[in-house]
């Protein structure tokens, strides 16, 4: 019970801790700093582009895109190799059949 009362008092003290607070003031010469910032507000297109490219989200998206393209290229290359093997086998078979035919119907 004692701890509860103690904590309740701490909570009430915290809730009321803003009482009597003075308003915070900004650092001196705010208008000067503000004017300088507004005067220098212009940004070149290169700087804007650089700022966009440097964002982590853009970098990650770019890396994923490159990985996806690599995967697509690898996959399509594997498919071509299989087709070539099949064509080679078929050609070999045709040659063999042709040879047999010529042998059976060969010169008499």
């Amino acid at each position: 019970m004692g701890t509860n009362e103690h904590n309740n008092k701490k909570i009430d003290d915290a809730i009321n801790s803003f009482d009597g607070a003075q308003k915070a003031s900004p650092r001196p010469f705010l208008f000067t700093r503000l004017s300088a910032r507004m005067y220098n507000a212009g940004e070149s297109s290169w700087e804007k582009a650089g700022r966009v490219i440097a964002r982590p989200a853009v970098v990650i998206a770019g890396l994923l895109l490159i990985l996806a393209i690599n995967a697509m290229v690898l996959f399509s290359n594997n498919k071509k190799i299989d087709t070539t093997d099949q064509a080679y086998t078929t050609d070999a078979y045709n040659t063999t059949v042709a040879t047999l035919y010529n042998f059976e119907n060969g010169e008499q």
Partner: protein, 193 residues
């Protein structure tokens, strides 16, 4: 200040630089104090305060005078401060990714460590704990509480800033206090372990 406001607004809308200077001088404390209560960092508050005045400069031509100039500025301040807080929290969430690209990570901590420059000395530690609890509240409760306790706005003025009813503000304040007590209780129990 209120009597000359229509004239000031007209001069601002015509791009009068001295009018803009007057706007900044008249409202810089109000804006900075509001912003620092939300972003809880002096350097960030300075940047966001500048953002507020830049936004005001760009948008003043759309100001129709339906609300007071101060109410309009408070709205911009609250919006910019909340945007800044959200951006910082997003950066924190993705900080592990930033590490991959060699970006130096800022140290982040949930321990109360913000000291508002205007809080009296004997209340500084308690206020720091309250700010840490405030940081965990939903935005609307946090804003209502900050505007009332730090800026000294009454409920009617808060209703105008947030563009909600007086009853809604009172409900927000009730929920804010309830949630703050809960968060502080959890914190003190954790601290005592």
């Amino acid at each position: 200040m209120n009597q000359g406001q229509p004239e000031l607004i007209e001069r601002l809308q015509h791009g009068d630089e001295s009018a803009f200077r007057q706007l900044v001088d008249d409202h810089e404390v109000m804006i900075y104090n509001t912003v620092i209560g939300i972003v809880q960092n002096e350097d960030d508050a300075d940047d966001v305060t500048q953002d507020v005045f830049i936004q005001a400069y760009r948008s003043i031509r759309y100001f129709r005078g339906e609300a007071k100039l101060s109410t309009w500025l408070y709205r911009i301040a609250v919006s910019k401060a909340l945007d800044h807080v959200k951006k910082k929290k997003r950066k924190k969430r993705f900080s592990f990714l930033q590490g991959w690209f060699g970006v130096v990570k800022e140290e982040s901590s949930n321990i109360p460590d913000f000291h508002h420059p205007g809080i009296v000395l004997e209340n500084k530690e308690k206020a720091s704990e309250l700010f840490a609890a405030l940081d965990q509240l939903p935005d609307n409760q946090r804003i209502a509480f900050t505007l009332h306790k730090l800026e000294g706005l009454n409920h009617q003025e808060i209703a105008q800033v947030l563009n909600i009813t007086l009853n809604a503000v009172e409900a927000l304040m009730g929920r804010a206090k309830g949630n703050l007590k809960k968060k502080l209780q959890e914190y003190y129990l954790q601290k005592d372990k």
